[in-house]
């Protein structure tokens, strides 16, 4: 079983990621167990997938936005967002929208070209699970979450930017930190 970083710990991953075949075709037989399916499969076999036993997740390619599943969020325990290259930053916005705008509370998992040095920003955008690129040591990557002890902007988990927290802590006036 593969490993996963989940809420800043290394855990075993019970989910199976269902990928299209090499020619892009979707599988015809639906698998059992906990499975994360491509968006296109969800759109094609929605009823069959729901009728199946086992838990369900969906994964979005970097070009697929959260709008496509906005009405179905209650059906998914996991939403995986794919990073074809770690320089493709669209997934960061996808996760923020899922959390901030659509109120999704389940797992948001980063998959694909995911490496240590993205983890902090990803988590601040709402990702709470990370399937590292093959060959990377998840245990060694955990320190990435504490690379920085503070942040200027608001983000998922801390919607208040630093400047508002400074004043919240010192209601009479300025806090000279």
């Amino acid at each position: 079983m593969a490993t996963l970083i989940k809420i800043r710990q290394v855990v075993q991953d019970s989910w199976q990621l269902l990928e299209p075949t090499a020619d892009g075709a979707l599988p015809t037989i639906l698998p059992q167990g906990d499975v994360i399916v491509p968006l296109a499969l969800w759109q094609r076999d929605r009823e069959k997938l729901l009728a199946r036993g086992g838990r369900l997740g969906v994964w979005l390619q970097s070009s697929e936005g959260p709008e496509a599943i906005a009405d179905d969020l209650a059906q998914f325990e996991v939403i995986a967002v794919s990073f074809p290259k770690f320089t493709d930053g669209r997934g960061y916005s996808t996760a923020r929208l899922l959390r901030d705008r659509y109120g999704y509370r389940g797992e948001i998992r980063a998959i694909g070209d995911v490496q240590r040095d993205q983890l902090l920003y990803l988590s601040r955008c709402g990702f709470d699970a990370f399937s590292l690129k093959e060959g990377r040591d998840p245990q060694a990557a955990l320190s990435a979450f504490s690379d920085f002890s503070e942040a200027y902007q608001g983000a998922v988990g801390q919607p208040l930017p630093l400047f508002r927290r400074r004043f919240a802590n010192a209601p009479d006036g300025m806090e000279w930190s």
């Binding site: 930053g89 669209r90 040095d117 690379d147 920085f148 942040a151 208040l160 400047f163 004043f167 300025m174």
Partner: protein
């Protein structure tokens, strides 16, 4: 000068530790070249033609004397004793060792400096008018907003892997001195009828392969909404900007493809969700950031100093320097002094470590320890008493920093070009030098009047050739270095993009070409008050083309051939 608080300092220190570990992992083979590339770029480290190049951030061009001394120390200790001030108001070191960079960053952090986001596909150093805070025509001091936006964009979790680099410029004065129309986002301070401060928001300008003047996306954005509106722009860009082709990845292409109107609709639709949210700025935050800027302890002085006026009337060389390199100040009796880094024979924007130390001393003695870097690649003493100008001039001359050429042809903006940069098609520095040598006669130079000449070694346009009254672009013709000449570009309020006048020419022909352009202008200007750019606009390109390439209707073959047109 903005002074860090404990949190600002901690973040910079943590960045040093993070980058030190990234370098260690790369040297230990735990990161591939490609993976490390994107990490080091976020810290301003390029691998150049001969060595790495480290770009140090000088946020909105403001520099304290102790910081400049530190830069001198770094240049001396880790480099070859000089640095290059860039058009983005940063400092580039051309010869650091990759292994030394963590140590350099640690040194910089001790004087509240860093190299964060000076490259990479993220929000870069925010630039502004180098007269910010001292200009007589100022509406608001843009540095406050620059600093607020600097903090907000530093380590932004959502906008650090954009399709391409992202450049923001602020202008706080009546006159645009920040080239806002050439930026990804340009923000111009405006005051509404009721006195409220806001910004005109321009999006999608830029140079490069597809030069575009940014269209206005919003006429008036109240200052409170600065961060949420910029977030909406960046989110639209992050989601929909092209990532399949590096030449089409800048936001200007998205704005152009969607049309500015549809782009604005997308931004406004996104902004509906962010507007009035927690990142809405507060007056308290505005005041907090303002009070962290040092204030010069100005004396009460008469508007005009008699000694200074006397010197100016009796010393022609001094008067000429004052006319070109000294600018008015909002405080009576003070002036802003440009120290020219454009001396003939020195690459434009370069300064030696010794010069940096000497300039830091000048700043301490004459300008409350404050300095600026201008986007025209000069240094500026922002707060000099009029009565000290004569002395400052003498000291600047001794340092080779008093070339009286601001606004003139030899104040050339130039990228480092093919001598250093691995992207360049052609060299820039020798071209700049050849032109400076040709126009070495100061009387002639002053007679020509205001003329911006900008040189870029390749289409990336680091030398802003599109915005030059005369622009020179290095191109590659079957492996040989050639130069394409354009005229009619301009920065500022009536910004325009230069037009190419004809086929590219060889390096040794450039001084002749420039001289012919200048001669044509002198012959055709309606008076000495009509500047080069105005003449070009009035009479068009044809007379200039004809001067270079001959009249196509008469004698098309001969003169064009003489120029060894490529």
């Amino acid at each position: 000068m903005y002074i860090y608080d404990a949190i600002d300092q901690r973040l910079v220190d943590e960045r040093v530790a993070q980058y030190r570990d990234q370098t260690r992992r790369f040297l230990a083979g735990e990161l591939t070249e490609e993976e490390f590339k994107h990490l080091r770029l976020r810290n301003g480290l390029y691998i150049q033609r001969y060595a790495p190049m480290l770009r140090v951030a000088i946020p909105y061009g403001e520099l304290a004397s102790r910081q400049l001394r530190k830069l001198a120390h770094v240049a001396r200790t880790y480099d070859r004793g000089y640095g290059h001030f860039s058009t983005r108001q940063n400092l580039q070191l051309n010869w650091p060792r990759l292994e030394d960079v963590p140590e350099i960053l640690a040194e910089l952090a001790t004087v509240q400096m860093h190299a964060i986001q000076t490259s990479g596909n993220c929000v870069r150093n925010i630039t502004t008018d180098h007269y910010a805070g001292i200009a007589p025509d100022e509406i608001v001091d843009p540095r406050i907003y620059c600093e607020i936006l600097r903090q907000w964009s530093t380590f932004h979790p959502e906008f650090s892997y954009l399709p391409r680099k992202f450049k923001i410029a602020f202008n706080g004065a009546q006159m645009d001195r920040a080239a806002v129309r050439f930026h990804d986002i340009g923000l111009r301070a405006v005051r509404a009828d009721d006195g409220a401060v806001g910004f005109r928001v321009l999006v999608g300008g830029g140079m490069g392969r597809t030069p575009i003047l940014a269209p206005v996306i919003r006429e008036f954005l109240p200052w409170q909404h600065l961060l949420t509106y910029v977030a909406a722009i960046l989110r639209v860009y992050n989601r929909y900007g092209r990532r399949d082709n590096i030449w089409k990845a800048r936001i200007k292409i998205l704005v152009k493809d969607l049309t500015p109107e549809r782009f604005r609709d997308e931004v406004e639709a996104e902004w509906v969700h962010l507007k009035d949210g927690p990142e809405t700025l507060t007056i308290e935050e505005l005041e907090r950031v303002s009070t962290r800027f040092t204030q010069a302890a100005y004396e009460r002085l008469p508007a005009s100093d008699p000694g200074f006026e006397w010197q100016r009337q009796t010393n022609v060389a001094f008067a000429r320097w004052v006319e070109r390199n000294v600018a008015p100040h909002r405080m009576p009796g003070y002036a802003a002094v440009t120290l020219s880094l454009k001396k003939t024979g020195t690459p434009p924007g370069d300064a030696t470590a010794d010069q940096m130390d000497a300039v830091a001393d000048l700043a301490d003695r004459y300008s409350f320890g404050e300095l600026r870097v201008t986007h025209e690649q000069n240094l500026l003493l922002p707060n000099v008493r009029q009565r000290d100008l004569y002395e400052v001039w003498g000291e600047a001359r001794a340092l080779g920093l008093a070339t009286p050429n601001l606004g003139l042809l030899t104040n050339i903006i130039s990228c480092p070009g093919g001598d250093f940069c691995s992207l360049a098609n052609a060299k820039s520095i020798p071209v700049a030098e050849a032109i400076q040598r040709r126009f070495d006669d100061l009387d002639y130079l002053h007679d020509i009047g205001e003329l911006d000449l900008n040189i870029s070694g390749c289409m990336n346009s680091c030398g802003h050739h599109h915005a030059g009254h005369i622009g020179i672009l290095g191109v590659d013709k079957q492996g040989a270095e050639f130069y394409q000449v354009s005229i009619g570009g301009n920065q500022g309020d009536d910004a325009s993009i230069g037009k190419v006048i004809g086929p590219s020419v060889a390096q040794d022909e450039i001084p002749d070409v420039i001289e012919k352009l200048v001669k044509t202008y002198i012959e055709r200007r309606d008076s000495e008050h009509e500047r080069f750019i105005e003449t070009v606009r009035r009479i068009g390109l044809e007379p200039f083309k004809e001067a270079i390439y001959g009249n196509p209707h008469q004698d098309s073959a001969s003169s064009a051939r003489q120029l060894a047109v490529a």
